[in-house]
């Protein structure tokens, strides 16, 4: 494992894969570099897909910039189908075999499909993950559907709802939970965003699920909710989460399941016996790694910033030689979203939060920085239209500062700790 690598294969030609490739070249890797992608497209950017692309402000061609000297071979439109870690080869869908000295697994996630496959197949039922999804859905929205029904109470659902309102389309947003965005923002902030969405004309339904869909021929015509209400619609988007692309690793001995591909702190993939799979690394949405900001709890973070940062850690570690020269991945998750005229930023992970405090601004003004605590420590912070102090909170989270973290500060009134 200490010999300098000559052949590096990256499975997954999206943000993490490309960022790793760039970093490898920047760090002087001169050997052969192959990027494998199951989609036919060169690496592209996803965040605009649920916003600008759907609004028709730009085309779905959001190809990421590539360094002119990248000297990488792209194997596109062919998924990897099998990994043999002992032989150090990856097999592709076309039967070809790629040998590697170092392998990066960055296969990411795919949209969770609508569970009833006949309904999912109806014309007018969409998911949104890739460029082609965005192109198809964007075209449908431009054609002015009578009503858009969105299923899912996460950021993608809300961003799409916001886009639909920008396009002046009637939109119903169905959320299974009692509070929208609660998993990421907690009930108070999630509730605030829900309120704004309603003011902007979104028909937001909480604690609601679809019982069944109705079709006219092969076209979606209406949905019936569990409470019996029927909503006519010709366009439904299921934003009900993601699935990790790990099936191709079956039989490889790697520890991979629905929660992701398990890694150590240096992002090296682990075998089921807990040992390191020689030369195999992981980055991005698919990687599940011990988060130093959360007592080394295993997390997989589906954020743009993490994909890039983790790819860079991996690239460095691939070239580091042995573990003593590797660095651990200690990226603090951060995330931002724009919807309904609000800019929402989040650092850290709010999971398990037991305390919440507005640190600057107020819920009433809808301009604020809030902090989240767990067991007396600061674990996350979020801002709405007011990110100026967020870097300080980021530092407080890294330092696991006592909660609430930053007192006697500018632009701050009395801090009241409450439930999230």
């Amino acid at each position: 494992m200490t010999a300098r690598p000559e052949r590096i294969v990256v499975v997954g030609a999206s943000l993490a894969g490309l960022a790793a490739a760039h970093r490898l070249r920047e760090r002087g890797f001169a050997g052969s570099l192959t990027l494998v992608g199951d989609e036919p497209h060169l690496p592209y950017d996803r965040p605009p897909l649920s916003k600008q692309v759907l609004r028709g402000l730009c085309t779905a061609d959001t190809t990421l910039p590539r360094h002119p000297d990248l000297r990488a071979e792209f194997r596109l439109g062919r998924p990897a189908t099998r990994l043999d870690p002992a032989a150090r080869t990856v097999e592709l869908g076309d039967g070809s075999r790629l040998p590697y000295d170092r392998l990066l697994i960055a296969t990411g996630t795919r949209a969770r499909p609508w569970p009833a496959s006949e309904e999912a197949a109806l014309d007018g039922v969409f998911t949104l993950r890739g460029r082609d999804d965005a192109r198809r859905l964007g075209a449908r929205l431009q054609a002015k559907p009578r009503r858009v029904v969105l299923v899912g109470g996460g950021f993608i659902g809300f961003e799409m709802a916001s886009t639909c309102r920008d396009l002046r389309l009637p939109v119903t947003l169905l959320v299974r939970d009692a509070v929208p965005l609660a998993a990421a923002l907690g009930p108070r902030l999630g509730g605030l965003v829900g309120e704004v969405a309603r003011e902007k004309g979104v028909d937001l339904r909480l604690k609601t699920e679809i019982e069944r869909m109705e079709a006219e021929g092969d076209r979606l015509a209406a949905v019936t909710l569990k409470d019996g209400e029927r909503i006519e619609t010709d366009c439904l988007v299921a934003a009900i989460g993601t699935l990790r692309n790990v099936e191709w690793l079956d039989g490889s001995g790697l520890e991979a399941d629905a929660k992701g591909l398990r890694c150590d702190a240096f992002c090296r993939a682990l075998l089921r016996d807990g040992s390191v799979a020689a030369g195999v690394f992981a980055a991005g949405d698919v990687a599940r790694w011990p988060n130093p900001h959360d007592d080394d709890a295993l997390v997989a973070v589906e954020h743009w910033g993490n994909a890039r940062a983790q790819a860079e850690t991996v690239a460095d570690n691939m070239l580091a030689g042995d573990a003593s020269a590797m660095r651990r991945h200690d990226h603090l998750p951060d995330f931002w979203s724009q919807q309904f005229g609000l800019t929402i930023k989040l650092v850290g992970l709010t999971e398990g939060a037991d305390a919440f405090a507005v640190m600057h601004g107020s819920l009433e003004e809808r301009r604020l920085v809030a902090a989240f605590g767990r067991d007396g420590r600061t674990i996350a912070a979020a801002s709405i239209d007011s990110a100026r102090w967020l870097p300080a909170y980021k530092a407080a989270i890294r330092e696991r500062a006592p909660f609430p973290p930053i007192g006697d500060a500018l632009d701050q009134t009395r801090i009241r700790v409450q439930d999230p």
Binding site: M359, R388, P391, A392, A395, I406, D408, A409, L410, D411
Partner: protein
Amino acid sequence: MSGSTLFERILDPANRANPYPLYAEMRKTPVARQEDGTYVVSTHAELARLISDPRISSDDLPDPRKFRWTGHPVTDLLVRPVRAEIRKRHRPFIFRDPPDHDRLRAQVMRCFTPERVRGMRDKTQRITDDLIGKMRGKGRIDLVDDFSYPLPVTVICELLGVPPEDEPRFHGWATQLATALEPNQRDDAETQARNEVCFNEIADYIRDLIKDKRKAPQEDILSDLATDRDGMNDYDLIATAVLLLVAGHETTVNLITNGMLTLLRFPGHLERLRAEPETAPRLIEELLRYEPPVHYRTRLALADIPVAGTTIPKDAPVILLLAAGSRDPLRFPDPDRFDPDRPDNRHLGFGGGLHYCVGAPLARIEAEVALVSLVRRLKGPSLVKDPPPYRPGASLRGPRHLPLALEGVADE
């Protein structure tokens, strides 16, 4: 001054020409306590963090009599006859905290419209051409006195709406204000007296100018500010006008002078700029990292702030040594190399956080027009003295003079 501590050696004018080795030493202790209780922060990550920390105040700056590194809060003198509490309330917004800072800054930002700033390019070019034209027939010039000084003050006069006939008076005041900003000069009784006369003159002048603008508003910043519906009162207006004059002036002088000095030290980059003027924007960003006009800013800790293993205690003065952060090898590979092609060049040249330089877009335009014109039109420029003599200040750092030998001046 036998520099006992590292930071004292940085302040020592003897080390002005090349403080960077001292900065490298300084960075070994990212947050360093000084004997007088001041904390000096010198590494990029810590600077980037503290510059956006709500426990760091720009108001209530430390007493300049106690801390010798403190710059002169010019407007303190400017409104000297006014009671202390009013004086404090009407500091320019660079020395204020939210919410007052935000209100005043927002009013100024509304005046710095992108169209207006872009419109300054042609004017800057015209002033530049004028100044270079005057160098004809000279075998030797002082870039500072002949060019870098008059250019920005003329630009800011135009922006503020100072009538052209009054510009010479403004030039005089600007020079005097620059002297007043030097910490090392302030104990001199004669300078003090001169400063005071100058401040009273400029305050009276601006007060009158504001009256005129209210009666007959024109297309300029002072007219906009004076007629703003939720406008500033006169104290704030005067403080803001002086701030724009000083901040928009002193710094740009140094940016242009440092720029030419750097280009003459690296003739390859000078030739490249001459041949490819479109590379100017990146070159200027690198200049802002490599030879920034502002080397440090001062702040005050409002609470105990733990950072990089040290706790800055409540009420401690804090020095943000931005220029050291912009040469931090942990952030910029090979930081002492001047490399305009540097990717990801997020320097601290314009500061950061809520006090990020309002004039940044204007400064970029001025530096771009100035440097491109200078390298295009000056024939065979060479440094007469390297390093040139520096002004004593460590905060706003730049050559006092930059004598250049010329073979001639090309036509426009």
